[in-house]
């Protein structure tokens, strides 16, 4: 992307130069919105062990965007339409609406992985069909799969902002019952939480989030923002509220870093965002392992896994 000279080591100036381009300003705006939402929703997705459903929703965005391109519509329609529809399809697979999926609901993958996998394969195949129907425009295919920072319009940002704020408001409204149903579905149901409804609502939020995130990172690299920061946060703290805050913080940081480096380097944004996300995950995993080992040493104070 090295538009103008490249990195000069005067970081403030570099940032100013970067943001003086309207497309970069839009990229940072869009990236920030998407990162905040993906960090928060992603934390709950990881807690609910629905990463596979999340990945599938992201892949479903690809035929949506490809189909919209083929029909000459804005790709945003395709992303949002297909991801939300996909969320409802996945929610209709028996057993998916609840977290975990095991009979006790306390972890382990359920039978529905197979069903979700089939949906994912079909979605990819449809995307491939739409791309070949459209003919040509291979760089467009790359952008759909791996993301781009150029060409985010003001209108797109408005759509992302509305969808993002909507997702966050819905997430706060679901709040405690969503956490309860994610961690302990059976007791939640006995306490009057509509576990199935909460699960479906969460999948729709996840669909909206992946649709928004796909427009920055591409369909295949959604996990850079949806899983890596959340998984890192879960390793750093066992407090749900702090976990969401850390996850959002990491997602925003990773996005800003990725966009800035992508601007000054010849390599694409999807690669950089994913790489920084992976780095954060590795660091958090290393920290967790070290902290657990320290707390297990004889004579160590009882701090095993204490929240940090």
């Amino acid at each position: 992307m090295g538009t103008d000279g490249g990195l000069s080591w005067h970081l403030v100036d570099d940032v100013r130069i970067m943001l003086s381009y309207h497309f970069m300003l839009n990229a940072v705006r869009a990236g920030t919105i998407v990162a905040v939402v993906a960090g928060a929703i992603g934390y709950l997705m990881v807690l609910r062990r629905q990463s596979f459903a999340g990945h599938t929703l992201a892949v479903i965005g690809f035929p949506g965007a490809a189909g919209a391109t083929w029909l000459g519509l804005a790709t945003g329609f395709g992303y949002f339409g297909f991801c939300v529809a996909g969320a409802l399809v996945i929610a209709a697979i028996p057993g998916v609406g609840r977290a975990g999926g095991g009979p006790g609901g306390l972890g382990g993958y359920g039978e529905e992985s197979a069903g979700i996998g089939v949906v994912q394969a079909f979605a990819l195949a449809c995307g491939f069909l739409f791309v070949s129907l459209y003919r040509g425009f291979l760089s467009g295919l790359n952008n759909l799969l791996f993301g781009t920072i150029t060409g985010i319009t003001d209108d797109q940002i408005l759509v992302l902002l509305v969808a993002g704020v909507g997702c966050l408001v819905a997430l706060v409204a679901l709040g405690r019952p969503l956490l309860f149903a994610s961690v302990d579905p059976e007791v939640a149901r006995a306490s009057g939480v509509p576990v199935r409804g909460v699960g479906v609502a969460f999948l729709v939020l996840l669909g909206l989030t992946t649709a928004g995130t796909s427009q920055i990172t591409g369909s295949l690299l959604v996990f850079a923002l949806l899983v890596a920061p959340a998984a890192a946060a879960a390793r750093l703290t066992a407090r749900p509220v702090a976990g969401i805050a850390v996850s959002v913080g990491l997602a925003v940081l990773v996005t800003w870093l990725g966009e800035a480096v992508a601007f000054f380097s010849p390599f694409p944004i999807g690669f950089w965002v994913t790489t920084f996300g992976f780095g954060a995950f590795l660091l958090a995993t290393g920290y967790r392992a070290a902290a657990d080992r320290a707390s297990r040493r004889p004579g160590a104070r009882v701090l095993a896994g204490s929240p940090t």
């Binding site: 006790g104 609901g105 306390l106 706060v172 961690v183 007791v187 390793r235 896994g305 929240p307």
Partner: protein, 292 residues
């Protein structure tokens, strides 16, 4: 505590017709039947018990012990007869019922603190998130969570991720979760399952002391009566679609169980007072196992 119901043949119904609907009972069933997926699990079950009583539900596998708890919670419909829980229909007063379902342990990867799990029992059913800052309500919640964690003796590991707690520790935290809203009725589904002998004894003692000190009625499903035998007030024995309620001495006898199963059953007592239920050769395998 209360008058003991008269022991009768299961097919005749166990309590006098009017007794089950009487007042003062925490749970009362009158000739009730429950069905799961169209299949009748049990029927003609009549029993009642009151506040502060520790009642165990015993019986062979698949006889509907967990179904009984779910029926009391209103999660499974009653297809026949009458069930009253805390003076209302099942499910209507669940905010006054603490429930610990049958389960495997939390996965080691679950990184949520025990305190948070207990807190979800307090206000996890309320929409939204608590308002930030130290309001009176948030202070009350925090105090109650701390109090109940102390009651079950879980202070030492309550701030650890629950996935990293041992089975007995998790069980204590989950009992704290079930107790946090000061329920009048506690439903525990096999809380002693997969615990070692020491933990079984300490959890049983804990349940009894909570039952006495908080005046909570406890309905506990078990497949082995021996760890809880010395703590119990009453036993419900479910078998072959019927049930018998009474003290362990009344119910776990060769005579009663023979009547319940419809085939000859022996009850042996070892030197330490442990009971072993032994069936005859013509009893199906799952019933022959010493399951009482």
């Amino acid at each position: 505590m209360t008058e003991r119901p008269v022991l009768r043949a299961p097919d005749a119904g166990l309590c006098p017709a009017g007794a089950a609907a009487g007042s003062g009972a925490v749970v009362s069933l009158h000739r009730a039947a429950a069905a799961v997926g169209g299949r009748r699990v049990w029927s003609e079950v009549s029993l009642r018990f009151s506040a502060g009583e520790f009642v165990a539900v015993l019986g062979p596998n698949g006889v509907g012990k967990s179904t009984l708890l779910k029926a009391v919670l209103g999660l499974i419909p009653i297809v026949e007869g009458r069930v009253e829980v805390l003076g209302a229909r099942p499910g209507e007063r669940n905010s006054a019922v603490g429930y610990l379902p049958q389960r495997r342990a939390f996965d080691p990867g679950v990184r949520v603190r025990g305190t948070d799990i207990v807190r979800l029992g307090w206000d996890g059913h309320r929409w939204g998130v608590p308002l930030p800052g130290r309001t009176a309500r948030s202070r009350a919640a925090r105090d109650r969570v701390r109090e109940v964690i102390a009651l079950v003796g879980a202070e030492r590991y309550a701030d650890r991720p629950i996935g990293q707690c041992s089975g007995g520790e998790q069980q204590r935290l989950l009992i704290a979760q079930a107790l946090v809203r000061r329920p009048e009725l506690l439903l525990l589904d096999e809380p002693l399952d997969s615990l070692d002998v020491t933990s079984q004894a300490s959890i049983s003692a804990l349940v009894q002391s909570v039952c006495r000190s908080e005046g909570v009625a406890v309905l506990l499903v078990a497949h082995d009566v021996n760890p809880i035998l010395s703590y119990l007030d009453q036993v419900v024995y479910l078998a072959h679609g019927g049930a018998v309620l009474g003290t362990p001495e009344q119910v776990i006898t060769a005579e009663t169980l023979t009547m319940l199963y419809g085939t000859p059953i022996d009850v042996l007592t070892d030197r330490n007072g442990r009971l072993v239920v032994v069936g005859q050769h013509d009893v199906p395998p799952d019933h022959r196992r010493a399951s009482a």
